[in-house]
Every structure is written in C-alpha cells, then in structure tokens.
C-alpha cells in the first residue's frame, strides 16, 4: 500500500533544483549574484568573452586552445564536485543512487540556467563505448575568432574532466562538430583515450561528425 504521508520526507518533494527563478538570486545591498546555495555567480557579457579570446590570441598565439582547454579541465573538475554536492544535498541521497535520466535532466537544467546554452546527451553509440554531448547556443562558439575548426576548447576541457570524474576513470573529449562552422550544434565525443585515437586527425581533415562516427563504429 502506498501511503502519501510516507512519501513526504520532512514534508518535501524535491523538484527542479536548478529552476531559473529559484536558483539565481541577487543581494541588492552587496551587489552580488548568487545561486541558491550562496555561491557567487557572475554575469559575463559577450564582449568579455571576445576580449578573452583576443587577449589569448595576442599573448599565446596557437597555445590559446591549450590554455582554454586546461582552464576547462580545472573548471570541469570543480563543477562536477559542486554539482554533485548540490544534488546530494537537495535530493537527500548519494549521487550513485540517482538514475542516469534524472542526473542528465538536472545537468541539462543547470546548463540552461547558467546561460551556457542547451545540453543533450546522445547515447546512440554507448554500446560502442562512446557518448556524445550536444550543446547548442554556446557562447564560446558564437564569439570565438574564425579558426576553420571546432573552437569550444573550454567546453571540451569541462566535459573531459566532468565525465572522467563521473566515470571514475580518465576519458577524453574531442569536439567533432561546431556551430562556428555552420553546424546545427556543437558535438563533443567522449570515450576512452585509446578509442579516440585518430579522431583529432579526422577533425583536422574536416570530416563531418557522421563520417567520424561511421569510421569509428563502422
């Protein structure tokens, strides 16, 4: 017998932790934007992102991609830790007890609420050991300089770190389609390092994401 009273733990039914109007808060006196946990948030204008790209290009040249990738790696590791803590605290149960679909639903909403675009996880190739993250309206793709190649180095770093933490083992991430090159979305291929051998060369050879997946899984 299901008892409605028993389902209400402390009278709570957890919902959408990252709902925009619940997650983002402002402190008018101190001039701070915070999340519902009190961690500071920052609104970043488009021009700042363009300025970061321009400054890095000027100072580091071709190393820009590596600098941004490593920034993403560091961010991704901390993002995973904070994301996990927030969900664990809110839902009152360890992350390991959460279903994949609930986890991804929360991650989607988190991505959206932070203004990083939309996030989807494509599990079409999961039986071959690959996941594809699809991000649309990425601020990093829309404001990067034209490099005639995928340019979301920061996000690539974030996902490599985030999914490594989630999987409990080192996985790589390579971007295989990019909005800056006219693609409908930014696709990030995630898999074990040895399974992604040769993918960078396929990207440099300007193969489409379908061709790349065809060669990997064909």
């Amino acid at each position: 017998m299901i008892s409605v009273a028993d389902l209400l733990v402390d009278g709570r039914i957890p919902g959408n932790y990252f709902a925009t109007d619940a997650y983002v808060r402002s402190d008018l006196e101190l001039g701070l934007l915070e999340n519902r946990r009190g961690d500071r948030l920052l609104a970043i204008p488009d021009t700042l992102i363009r300025a970061i790209y321009a400054g890095l290009e000027k100072e580091t040249g071709q190393a820009t991609r590596l600098v941004l990738f490593n920034c993403g790696r560091w961010w991704g590791k901390n993002f995973y830790a904070r994301f996990g803590e927030e969900l664990t605290d809110y839902y009152g149960s360890p992350l390991a007890e959460m279903s994949m679909s609930d986890f991804i639903q929360s991650l989607k909403q988190c991505w959206l609420t932070h203004g990083w675009g939309t996030f989807d996880l494509d599990q079409t190739y999961q039986h071959r050991g690959f996941l594809i993250v699809k991000v649309t309206h990425s601020p990093f793709a829309s404001h990067s300089p034209n490099m005639s190649r995928p340019v979301c180095f920061l996000e690539t770093g974030v996902f490599s770190s985030f999914f490594s933490q989630l999987a409990g083992r080192e996985v790589n991430c390579i971007q295989i389609s990019c909005e800056s090159q006219g693609s409908d979305s930014n696709r990030f291929l995630i898999g074990l390092p040895d399974r992604l051998q040769g993918v960078s060369e396929m990207v440099d050879a300007k193969l489409s994401h379908e061709e790349i997946m065809g060669k990997l899984c064909g």
Partner: protein
C-alpha cells in the same frame, strides 16, 4: 508574479498606471483572500486529497507496478503544489517551467499510462474537496498542468536521451555508473 502585473509594475518609472491597469491590480488584490483560502485547503488537506486517488490507482494497476506508482504519486504531489502556488500567484508562467520538468520526469520513468488515470481522478477529488465555486479559481491552472502532462508532445524540443538517425541502438543506460559504459 503574473506577467500582466509584472509588466504593469515595470511601467512605474515611466508613468502612473492608467484606470485599466489599476483595475488589473485591483482585481488580483480583491481575489487574494479567496486564493489564500483555497491554498490553505490544498495545503491542509494534501494527504486527504491525494490518498483516495492513490488508493484507486493501486486497484487499477498490479502490485508489480508499485515503484512506478510511487514515482507518479510523487510527481502528482509536486504538480498539485505547483498548481496551488500558481493559483496563489495567478501566474501560469510560474507553472509552465515547473511542469516541463515534471513532464520530463514522467517521460524518463515511463509514467504516461499511470498519469492518464491519475489526473482525472485527482480532478474529481479536487472538485469534491473544494466545491464548484472554489475550484473555479484553480481550474485554469489545473487544466494547464493536466493538458501538459497528458499530451503526447515531448517535454522539450530536445530530449535527454537522443537516439537519432544512426543504426538502431540498444536501450540507453539508466544507471549512473559510466565506468562500465566506457
């Protein structure tokens, strides 16, 4: 805040409200005591409203479906609380974002068949508890929720799990354990 009221309040720095706009504000303010009364009933009678619904659900579905029934019930509690707050604020926008979340949860857990039975039963129980007059203030919001959850449309333009045009893939992994996946 109700979008009409929000847009009216945001005009304050430009001008005073005109007669029509003041009527909008006045109308909402006058309805607040009724809305508070309905909200209190929904809050205080939450278990009494939902338990008969759940009891009937358990008669219609086998015991093996207990886990899904529980999940549908939790979603139902959340839906009703969202309705209550949406009614209090008179804000369908508030409801819309939250219902999209519940819709995705429904899809993730394949609860559509249970919800097709749950929400009509819930509506009957609400009519019984609130009566026709009070139900009028809740009706629009409840219909918004019920329509969203019982429609066949996907919850958003993109879904969490995407099986696209490539060769037929097995069912996605739903365990939060990617170690074995890679």
């Amino acid at each position: 805040m109700h979008p009409a009221l929000e847009s009216v309040f945001n005009e304050a720095e430009s001008r005073y409200l005109n007669a029509n706009e003041l009527n909008i504000v006045g109308g909402y303010v006058e309805s607040i005591p009724d809305r508070l009364e309905i909200y209190r009933i929904l809050r205080d009678e939450e278990v009494n409203i939902l338990q008969p619904v759940v009891d009937q659900l358990q008669q219609k579905f086998p015991a093996s479906e207990a886990k899904r029934l529980e999940r549908s019930t939790k979603n139902g509690i959340l839906s009703l609380r969202t309705c209550a707050m949406g009614m209090l604020l008179n804000d369908q926008g508030y409801v819309q974002e939250r219902i999209q979340w519940i819709k995705q949860t429904q899809k993730n857990n394949s609860l559509e068949d249970i919800d097709q039975v749950f929400y009509p039963l819930l509506e009957q129980q609400l009519n019984k508890t609130l009566g026709n007059l009070k139900m009028k203030l809740l009706q629009d919001i409840f219909q918004q929720v019920q329509s969203a959850l019982l429609s066949d449309e996907s919850s958003s333009s993109s879904s969490s799990v995407n099986s696209s045009s490539s060769p037929a893939a097995p069912d996605p992994v739903d365990e939060l354990n990617l170690e074995s996946l890679f």
